[in-house]
Amino acid sequence: MTLADHLPILPVIIPALAAPVILLVIRRRPWLGVAAALVSCLGLLVCALALMARVSDGSILAYAVGEWPAPFGIVLVADRLAAMMLVLTACLGLIAWLHAVVTGADRKGWHFHALFQFQLMGLNGAFLTGDLFNLFVFFEVLLIASYGLMLHGQGPARLKAGVQYVVVNLVGSSLFLIALGMLYALTGTLNMADMGLRVAAIAPGDQGLLRIAALLLVSVFALKAAVAPLHLWLVRTYAVSAPAVAALFAIMTKVGVYSLIRVVPQVFGDSAGAAAWVPAPYLLPAAMVSAVIGFAGVFTARSLSEQAAYAVIGSTGTLLIAVAGWSADSLGAGLYYLAHSTFAAAALFLVADVVARRRGSFGDSASPGPDFAGRSGVALLFMAAAIAATGLPPLSGFIGKLLILKSVAALPDWGWAWGVILGTTFFGVVGFARVGSAVFWKSAGGGGGGGAPHAPVSRADLAAPIMALTLLAALSAGAGWASAYANAAAVQVLDPAQSARAVLTQGAR
């Protein structure tokens, strides 16, 4: 076996090796730890891109860990969707990491870099695993790392929000385990592909149990995705986290969405009896409600970071409207929008930090503050991020929303979906315009409000938001290729028989 054969496991191995190395050296030689983190982030990006190139021809790589054959051993499955999520994670990880290093946020505690690597490991593992119990394990890995990252820098507000975040996720994990236990008791397997084949053979008397298990599992994913009414934990958590961490967390809600997209067609597809497409009747209304709540929050937010957190909820809602169609077209449009909304949310959090660093005691509150150096440049950045988040041209949000609108037109409830997407876009535009004009146009007058003059901030912290916005522009310029890839990924996800064949034959070699 060559290194290329081990490609699917590298995105899990690299951060798993980097994190202990960083732990060992960070106290003696901090620069060495930072260098190790950089090498790991770059290595992840290279691996993710290589994996994407490998699977872009439509092949599905199944990697049997320890060569144990598939239904019994643990398999990692890399297909188009997984490769896409890995590339997203790697890009976002690099941007968030860069911002943390440039702004010095990583030096507020010893273990930022190690936790960051464990977080990336959990994310990559969750995207790669082909086994439901390992999905739980990687969820826990990424959650445990996220608890640490979220509390990084500490302070009363962060601790208070941290308690809520941890408690909510512990309850979520318990429900996940209950659902897993029921599914294992019913099907006798935890491998997703195998389970997808076996649900068809469940006795009529057990259909009720199957339905309950499926609904429990789906509600856990909905909790992670922060879909209404399970979104209440998100705003406080994201708004008080360190901005670089919040930018990385932009992908955490997408983990929930990814799990829905992965598990529902594969396990609860057409053959699943009482559990067939079990979230379908609830997902569209819930998604529309969260889009409305999210963009209403954008409208009423009191600070830039709170606004960005609400934008995360709103964009996840919009994304799930597309997913709720469960057709190749709408899912493809949704996946394109998923990539876009991840970077857009990260850009918003980073711009909020850039503003907060320049306004001293005013922070990122949505109120007029003192003038600061480079205000027009930062205003342009905020405008670009706001354009991306609301989905105005020329950035990729416009194309994403256009694709979603076009694809959901074929669905029975398309009128509602169109109304919600267009209406929330309008609310988003007004909300961002309100906050932007308060922060960047008005001045609080000379010395008023107690804002002490502070040392000028280096312009290096503009790099990370500019990188995120450049990626959005690239996503917009390469929209043809990106949406073709997203559509191909959607077609592949909706054909569970193909991946079952790949997993159960390749994985069992």
Binding site: I144, Y147, V166, V167, L170, S174, I178, L180
Partner: protein, 131 residues
Amino acid sequence: MSYEFLLATAIGVLVAGGIFLALRARTFQVVLGLTLISYAVNLFLFASGRLVVGRPPIWDKSVSAYTDPLPQALVLTAIVITFGMTAFVVILSLRSFLETGSDHVDGDKVPCDAQDGLADRRADDHEDTRA
């Protein structure tokens, strides 16, 4: 009375108690509630391989019937994770209480007097240390 009934009752009681406690306002009760729920979940996972008495989970020459070993492995993983999480959440809520002066989960500042007698108890403690 069958083992199944006994186990199902135990899980039900644990979950009921756990949910009741997890919905309380104070972090200590919430942590206890989460612990109870995690015990129930572990028992539930264990039972997902069906209840089998007197059979080994691993291969042996002299044995012909086995119990399902996989749920036992799953429970082990789940126990390790929930144990770590419980330790973490205890420390976290302690830090949160010490830094914010309130042990309410909803996070809003509650005046010490409103925390039914906590202020009085604190005052007593101070008097004790002085005395």
